[in-house]
């Protein structure tokens, strides 16, 4: 067990290093940060002095080593545009992203599961067919387009929901802010959560439908029916339970990608989370923020995969055999 975990851990660290290297190499091609930091009339000498102070003139390996050493200590430096430590900026933005991700995951589950069950049980009904066509839209339309569509329908035309931002937030503790406790905060969550969660909802719905169709055909369901159990019990107690295993795995993995890829949704709704900050950083060549974000995302995926691996190991005895 320990040997397995150590091996996985070493692999995870290698992945992180590779991501760091890729991220670092990429920054060579995004443009000149100095131009974004100063006004256009700033003289060449001042620009050069700034470049020197930031260490941008050092040899690449030196810069990379410095970057990795500091990143290992969670020091990502100071943002070029905000002139504040990157770790502090991220701490301020994390609550917004996590709350949005949580709500979209909740939306995907609460809406996706019933739809999936229904479509699985009544595969030929008109409503099931409608669900399937709607879900096709969820998969095929790009996120930003869905977001803009929702904004123009619910904000501009009907004026029910806000088109941007988090509404009023409440401070909890020293660094967490929440939008759950105010009316405007909750209203502001609706459109971005739907936009972000639509794809996952579609995925979960289709997954459950497929599993349901599969399970309904199995012997034990037929047997349960033969025993005269009511439909309700057969469907929800016996069938649904067995469809949930892959759904839980997928949901867990998808949560990671919801957090990591909230970028587009956050940009469309001006949601003050990490993704929006990342995109602004890209436009302004704010390298410290970009690198921190990429590493954080990589870390998220590596951590989730690591946990999943360990869990497989615990669940599946076959992995243990022949591997001391």
């Amino acid at each position: 067990m320990i040997g397995f975990a150590t091996r996985r851990l070493i692999q995870a660290m290698i992945v992180m290093l590779v991501v760091a290297l890729l991220a670092f190499t990429m920054f060579r091609f995004v443009g000149d940060p100095i131009n974004q930091m100063v006004g256009i009339e700033t003289s060449i000498e001042e620009r050069e002095a700034l470049r020197e102070r930031l260490g941008l003139n050092d040899p690449i390996p030196v810069q990379f080593l410095r970057f990795v050493t500091k990143a290992a200590q969670f020091d990502f430096g100071t943002s070029y545009q905000f002139r504040q430590p990157v770790s502090e900026l991220f701490a301020k933005r994390i609550p917004a992203t996590l709350e949005l991700s949580f709500m979209s995951a909740l939306f995907a589950l609460v809406v996706g599961i019933p739809m999936g069950i229904y479509a699985g049980l009544n595969r030929d009904s008109a409503i099931s067919k409608m669900f399937l066509s709607v879900s096709l839209i969820g998969i095929s339309l790009p996120t930003f387009f869905i977001g803009i569509l929702l904004i123009f329908l619910f904000s501009v035309t009907l004026q029910w929901l806000p088109s941007f931002g988090r509404g009023e937030t409440v401070q909890i503790g020293s660094w967490w802010t929440t939008g759950f406790l105010t009316v405007s905060g909750l209203k502001a969550l609706v459109l971005p959560s739907i936009t972000l969660g639509l794809y996952q909802m579609t995925l979960i719905m289709r997954l459950i439908r497929a599993e349901m169709l599969e399970v309904i055909r199995t012997d034990y369901i037929k047997f349960a029916r033969a025993r005269g159990l009511p439909d309700r019990l057969v469907h929800f107690r016996h069938a649904l339970k067995n469809t949930m295993v892959p759904v839980i795995t997928i949901t867990g993995l998808q949560l990671g990608s919801i957090i990591a890829f909230a970028t587009i949704t956050e940009t469309v709704f001006q949601w003050p989370g990490m993704g929006l900050m990342f995109l602004q950083a890209v436009q302004n060549v704010d390298i410290p923020i970009m690198s921190a974000y990429l590493l954080l995302t990589a870390f998220l995926f590596v951590a989730i995969n690591f946990i999943v691996d360990i869990m497989y190991f615990l669940i599946d005895p076959r992995l243990r055999v022949g591997r001391p």
Binding site: D32, T78, Q84, L276
Partner: protein
């Protein structure tokens, strides 16, 4: 017609405001963010003016950009090299401290210290002498008629407050921790900044102790940056925002058609122009070998005459641009109206090309930003199509500004043959244009650093030096006109137009749209 294309929307009636003063919060949005609150951190229009609501300079500019007294009540040039400023008495900073000559002297040293991005606000070799608490002298090494032109955006800071909070050094990008002044503001202006979350929201509150009579009726202002054009426009249309800017020109009609909002348009000061590499002996991006066609005046004029500026105005800018014959807005130069563009004439252009030895044209690479100016990439595409008519094959390279500027400016080694750029003189004065864009430069950029094409005309250099020290305004304008005439006659640049401003405003809000794209809350009334 709902478009009001005057420079100002309305002159506010100060008298009527006093009786109808009503508690109102203005919500507005801009495409970019307000980062550090230190007024010397970034020399950029939005930052300077967003902070300019809380901080003030010795001077300020009115709705039509005329210079007015602000923290200084009056000033005079007592000797050719000595400027005396009489300061306003009884002015208090937001924290209650008194404003005195000490603060001006302190701000003078701080604005030109290391880490400041506004070092050009004061001449490097100038000194300051405090005469008494409310009189201060600036001593220069030579005459400078435009010393105070940019002082509306040179914020005066409180010496005591800055020193007490250990913020004397300007937060520079290489510092690991921001200083107090980067996160807090303490000015003398009509609004105080009460909270600031960079990139998320900034909240202003009215300063009741402001020295001047308030003509606005606001109690507070909320600023939210919205980067996405569609979302920004939607926020206005849905009534969540009272004012958003800029708005894409293609959305102007939509905003005017919507009841309750109106698009406010007017000419901006920025001049968009094309530049050509006239320095290298062979172009970097061209099929012409062993020669640089742009060194030939006829080729430059052919390019100029091949461009149908009216088509660009109508099709690309949707009417929202003012074609220009010189490199500065006519608002900023008294003789600006005397210049005329070379007429659009494809046949004449073809003849010029043939005369210069390129009857079949040639190919040239063109650099263009795609997120910097209004419809910048579309302008370049139009230019490429127009040049194709005289046989010039343009290879367009449109990139985000971060990459674009890194390539074409000094830091990229002026890696360009043909480019589109925009320029607004920070001082609103022609000397800035001549000094930055039209003087000779060497390979590293010493001289005119933004003369990317690197043309060199000794006469313009000579005139620039004379203009700098000429105190007689009439004579000075004649010298400036002479310099622009040389540039025009030789077609060193191809000026295109001054782009337009487009702001989206709710019907119940009245404000002033200044041609420098600055938004000052003190001109706003909300009903």
């Amino acid at each position: 017609m709902k478009i009001k294309s005057t420079l100002m929307v309305s002159a506010l009636l100060a008298g009527s405001m006093l009786t109808t003063a009503q508690a109102e919060t203005l919500k507005f949005s801009f495409q970019g963010t307000l980062n550090a609150l230190d007024p010397y951190s970034l020399n950029e229009t939005f930052t300077l003016h967003a902070l300019g609501n809380a901080y003030e300079g010795l001077t300020r500019r009115g709705p039509d950009l005329t210079i007015e007294p602000a923290l200084a009540e009056s000033w005079e040039v007592v000797e050719p090299n000595r400027w005396r400023f009489k300061l306003r008495e009884g002015v208090k900073f937001h924290n209650g401290n008194d404003f005195t000559a000490e603060d001006v002297a302190f701000s003078f040293e701080r604005v030109r210290s290391e880490g400041s991005d506004l070092t050009t606000r004061v001449p490097a070799d100038a000194t300051v002498e405090i005469v008494d608490d409310y009189t201060i002298d600036f001593v220069l090494s030579g005459p400078n008629p435009i010393l105070h032109y940019e002082w509306d955006t040179w914020a005066i800071m409180d010496k005591e407050w800055t020193e007490a909070n250990d913020a004397v050094k300007v937060t520079s990008a290489s510092d690991t921790t921001p200083n107090y002044a980067a996160l807090n503001a303490n000015g003398t202006g009509p609004f105080k900044i009460v909270s600031h979350e960079p990139g998320v929201k900034t909240v202003y509150e009215t300063n009741d102790g402001w020295w001047d009579e308030a003509t606005h009726n606001l109690t507070g202002v909320e600023f939210t940056p919205i980067g996405s054009d569609a979302t920004r426009v939607a926020a206005l249309l849905s009534g969540e925002m009272d004012m958003v800017y800029p708005i894409p020109v293609q959305d102007i009609k939509r905003i005017n058609d919507n009841s309750g909002t109106v698009a406010l348009t007017g000419p901006e000061l920025r001049t968009i122009f094309l530049g050509m590499d006239q320095m290298r002996d062979e172009l970097l991006y061209s099929d012409v070998e062993g020669a640089n066609p742009f060194k030939d005046e006829r080729v430059r004029k052919a390019f100029y005459q091949a461009i149908d500026i009216e088509a660009i105005k109508q099709k690309v800018m949707r009417g929202l641009s003012t074609p220009s014959a010189i490199m500065i807005s006519p608002f900023l130069f008294s003789k600006g109206g005397e210049f005329e563009r070379y007429p659009y004439d494809v046949d004449a252009a073809k003849a010029l090309m043939a005369e210069a030895g390129y009857p079949n044209g040639f190919s040239v690479g063109m650099d263009c930003p795609n997120d910097r100016y209004v419809n910048d990439e579309a302008i370049c595409q139009a230019v490429a199509a127009m040049l194709a008519r005289i046989g010039v094959k343009v290879d367009l390279n449109a990139q985000p500004k971060a990459k674009y500027f890194a390539k074409i400016l000094a830091s990229g080694g002026y890696d360009t043959s043909f480019y589109l750029l925009g320029w607004t003189p920070g001082s609103f004065d022609s000397w800035n244009v001549l000094d930055n864009l039209m003087n000779c430069r060497d390979e590293s950029g010493a001289g005119s650093p933004f003369n990317n094409g690197g043309f060199c005309d000794a006469k313009i250099d000579e005139l620039t030096d004379q203009i700098l020290v000429e105190n007689d305004p009439v004579k000075r304008d004649e010298l400036i006109a002479e310099a622009y005439t040389i540039s025009h006659d030789n077609a060193y640049y191809i000026p295109l137009h001054q782009q337009g401003l487009a702001w989206g405003v709710a019907d119940n809000v009245e404000l002033v749209q200044r041609a420098d794209n600055a938004f000052h809350f003190r001109f706003v009334t909300k009903n």
